[in-house]
Amino acid sequence: MRTRPPERPVGAKLELTHACNLRCGFCYTDSPRHTLLRTPDLPDDAWHRIANEAADLGVIELVLTGGEPFLRRELVLGLLDEMAGRDVGLTLNTNGWFVDDEIADRLAAVPGLQVDLSIDGATPALHDASRGVPGSWRRAVEATGRLLDRGVRVQVVHVVTPINERHFGAMIEQMWTLGVTSLRATPVVEVGAAARGGRWPVSRDRLRRTIKDFSKTHGDGMRVVLQHGNAGVLAIHDHAAPVSMLVRPGGAVLTDSLHPFRYGNALEEGLAECWSRIVENWRDPEVSRWAKSFRNSRDLADAEVIPYLSDEVPVGSEAKAASHVSDPVPERAVPKDDSGDPAENLARAREHVRGLALNRRYRMAPAKLGGGPEEHYVRQPESGRVLRLNASAAAMLHELDDGTGADAVATLSQRWSVDRSQLETDVLATGRSLVSEGILVPVAGCERVAS
């Protein structure tokens, strides 16, 4: 257990904007309310100053988030470029709506960037119902596809609700097909809008069983992680010192998203001063009293001060604050695709995702090939590992070198009379496997045009 914060912060999470184009009923930052209210954010130059101060303080990871960061497109792209130049690890959270080819190209040029992209279901019906805006599933999976086409590291973040919970297996299967290598499932945290919108119970045991079943079928090709519960984090508050800081859109500095206590303002006092206050006061009696008042995560929604739904409390003050539980929030649109037969919806969605994955183009990494025509041996130069490929895997590698999965299926279906759907699955699986081995790399559309 960490009983003291480090001398300097290890990470910083910057909430660049209150605003969001989606209307999730569980939004922990309560962004739909702020979007309606047009709650002001810090200007671009202030964020550049804050990010640079974080880099000066030696943070090793910076998380850019919102709201939806791409509602401030030039700010987020500028910050990514600037911070990559300062050798800071970067993670960007987005719902993917605005990630077109141009933005995907810009993100692919940021070294080491991880994009956390939110997808809440295997079908438009499930995702769009969660996100409150029709068309958001298609935008999100196409954005994921675009980023994977360019070799960007993507982690899909999946919010599990009582509605989409029983479709979790189909969801992770769908993401595997798309080529995703990491998925984080997170049951709703009952803060922000979620605390306004009733209860969100899901069975963690059932989710764990689904993950186990998936691993049995697909091995460790996709990392699926179930987010820890939050009550535990709060219960051990006195023994789990903060290592990072959170800057809210107006500049307020907190330790994280679960503690609604303010340690100053990043713009007015500066991050260094705010971190000193965190080091000094993170175990302030009022903070400890508040944190220890929870026995389970459901208690959060009944707390006197609810993170993101109540105003933040200046540290050192009594934990009481104005609540925004009754403030107006935008109407949620009824998703157009939330109708029809669920099995047909899922089949259509699978077809769309499969199409995105099969249209991904690859080329071979500079690996050395050996053996004869029936059996290939390939040595990966960076790891020195040698793989033996059987005839079908070797043929797939050959076809995927400057080809797409669809090209490979078309050619190989002439050589082997095998069910086309099985061939597609095998080509997708082989592509995934050879990418993870560093033998194949995905190539984006722009690179294809240039070559």
């Binding site: 025509p373 041996y377 590992r385 040698v386 793989l387 033996r388 490929l389 059987n390 005839a391 079908s392 895997a393 797939m396 050589r415 082997w416 009379s417 095998v418 095998d426 699986a429 082989t430 496997s433 050879l434 081995e437």
Partner: protein, 40 residues
């Protein structure tokens, strides 16, 4: 017979397995080669 003239072959599910190309002396769990075991 060239590759193109061969009859259609049976389809096996694709496999890629890591193999060792090690041809040197066997190594003990302590990281010493077996010859070294006898070094006084």
């Amino acid at each position: 017979m060239s590759e193109e003239q061969k009859p259609q072959d049976a389809y096996d599910a694709p496999q890629a397995e890591e193999i060792s190309t090690e041809t040197g002396p066997a190594t003990t769990s302590a990281g010493l080669t077996e010859d070294d075991d006898n070094v006084p």
